[in-house]
């Protein structure tokens, strides 16, 4: 702050070289910053440091809301708590019952895929994070969470809640991270329609009042119905395959704009977020997000990769005796071992 009180142009009331020179300097600095930030090389480190500095202020700003929640929670009566407890118990029982068959199904699925052993689940571990601040307006739908690189959070990490996909991290600071929600107008997620298997891309509409996703790349005559479930397709390199994202709410064939034709509502409750889950995935799992490759499929389980065409079996030489032909049937080379 060398200029504060420097009095360099005290006698020149505003006019003169000093403000013009400094304007040129700062404007150039700002444009340079933007240029470098767009190339996203080393400026991510600057942003990292700055977000560390900014975090205490953001935390302080979010305190009134948190304090109000705390007051409201501590005012709850015994009866309300007991009711909630009973409800949670019932839900837990229901969930446990539903997962009873989970392991059996998992193994069965592995067998069907031709794997010798069942695979571990694609999610390696989870970490709960609290929402520090929510920024939902018509342009941006972002949240700030209280986990950062100190908790091994990385850029482009999937964020969920118990119902479905929420979004991904876009800026990671030391103790905080910014998450872009799936409904943000700048967010797109590769999805698959569960009923038909059709793959497409769901983009956020950025609509604040009616949080939704649109499917602008589906043709007008696509086979979709309201109620269809959208799952992540595993393409794109961020989200693994098979996590629920949204449910199709509205199909309008007469819509003028592609963004209005298919509307889906996210399953995650974006309106009232307090806690979210960060997920780490096993990179070697076949359902893990596949990174874009340069023409060659190199990701995923080697056993599941497209295999080169097996060499044609050599035509048997002039049959010396029928017994020799029978011993090596040409189809043996093509036979798949169970």
């Amino acid at each position: 702050m060398a200029t504060f009180g420097a009095g360099a142009y005290r006698s020149l009331p505003g006019r003169g070289a000093a403000p013009g020179f400094r304007f040129t300097l700062y404007a150039t600095a700002a444009i340079l910053l933007m240029f470098v930030d767009q190339r996203r090389a080393w400026l991510e480190h600057v942003r990292y440091a700055l977000s560390g500095v900014a975090y205490p202020l953001q935390l302080a700003v979010s305190e009134p809301g948190a304090a109000w929640r705390w007051v409201r929670d501590s005012m709850q009566t015994r009866a309300a708590l007991a009711a909630e407890n009973a409800q949670l118990r019932a839900r837990e029982t229901a969930l446990e019952t539903r997962t009873l068959r989970f392991e059996a199904l998992e193994r069965e699925n592995g067998e069907l895929r031709g794997l010798q052993t069942a695979l571990p689940p694609v999610a390696d571990h989870w970490l709960a994070a609290e929402v520090v601040s929510v920024e939902i307006d018509n342009q941006r739908q972002r949240i700030l969470i209280n986990r950062g690189s100190r908790n091994d959070v990385f850029k482009g990490q999937a964020v969920m809640d118990s119902r479905g996909l929420l979004g991904q991290t876009i800026h990671v600071g030391p103790w905080s991270a910014e998450v872009i929600l799936v409904t943000d107008a700048e967010h797109a997620v590769p999805v698959q329609i569960e009923r038909t298997g059709v793959r497409t891309i769901a983009v956020g509409t950025g609509d604040k009042d009616n949080e939704s996703l649109a499917l602008p790349y589906l043709p007008d005559n696509a086979d979709v119905k309201p109620g269809d479930l959208l799952l992540t397709s595993g393409l794109g390199g961020v989200f693994p395959q098979g996590y629920p994202v949204a449910r199709l709410a509205e199909v309008r064939h007469d819509a003028a704009q592609a963004l209005e034709r298919f509307r889906a509502t996210p399953l995650a409750e974006l309106g009232r977020l307090h806690e979210v889950m960060l997920v780490w995935f096993r990179p070697d799992h076949p359902a893990s997000p596949s990174k874009p490759t340069e023409g060659q499929l190199t990701h995923g389980n080697p056993a599941l990769r497209p295999q080169p065409v097996p060499p044609r079996p050599e035509p048997a030489p002039v049959p010396a005796s029928p017994a020799a032909t029978a011993a090596v049937p040409p189809s043996a080379a093509l036979k798949v071992t169970p």
């Binding site: 700002a30 809301g65 307006d137």
Partner: protein
Amino acid sequence: MNARLYEPRITITVTTLIAIVVTILPLPGWLALVRPSFAVLTVLYWSVAAPRAGGLTLGFVTGLALDVFRGSVLGQHALALTAITYIAVREHQKIRSKPAFQQSLIVLGALIVYEFIVFAIDGWTGHPLASVKRWIPALTGAIIWPLVTAMLERSHSPR
């Protein structure tokens, strides 16, 4: 006039910090939509009232802070704020001598320039979100300007 000459650096820093907090404070629904950028208004005020201390450096630093809090491209708000601070510092004597209503009109012009620069950079960096709603803060900012000046004047003038 005497009160304006001593250019209270601490007051400038504190009021700008408060203004940034109010600007990024999470607000429900329509309040957030109509909320003017108090940080920009405060910087504008100090550029006019104390152009030596609260000039371009204040604008640049505040803009950078807004960039960090908003998660926008670093330098976006800094450039926009530097630009309008420059105008304010250059013309601070003319602006100071105008009656409140005309000041509000000038501020409206400055805020529109500010929003336009932010909007243009949004477009160039690939986030074109054209909506009438993004111009509302400029309007509310101009409306609330007399109130902001009255409050900030009290913060540094002897009672």
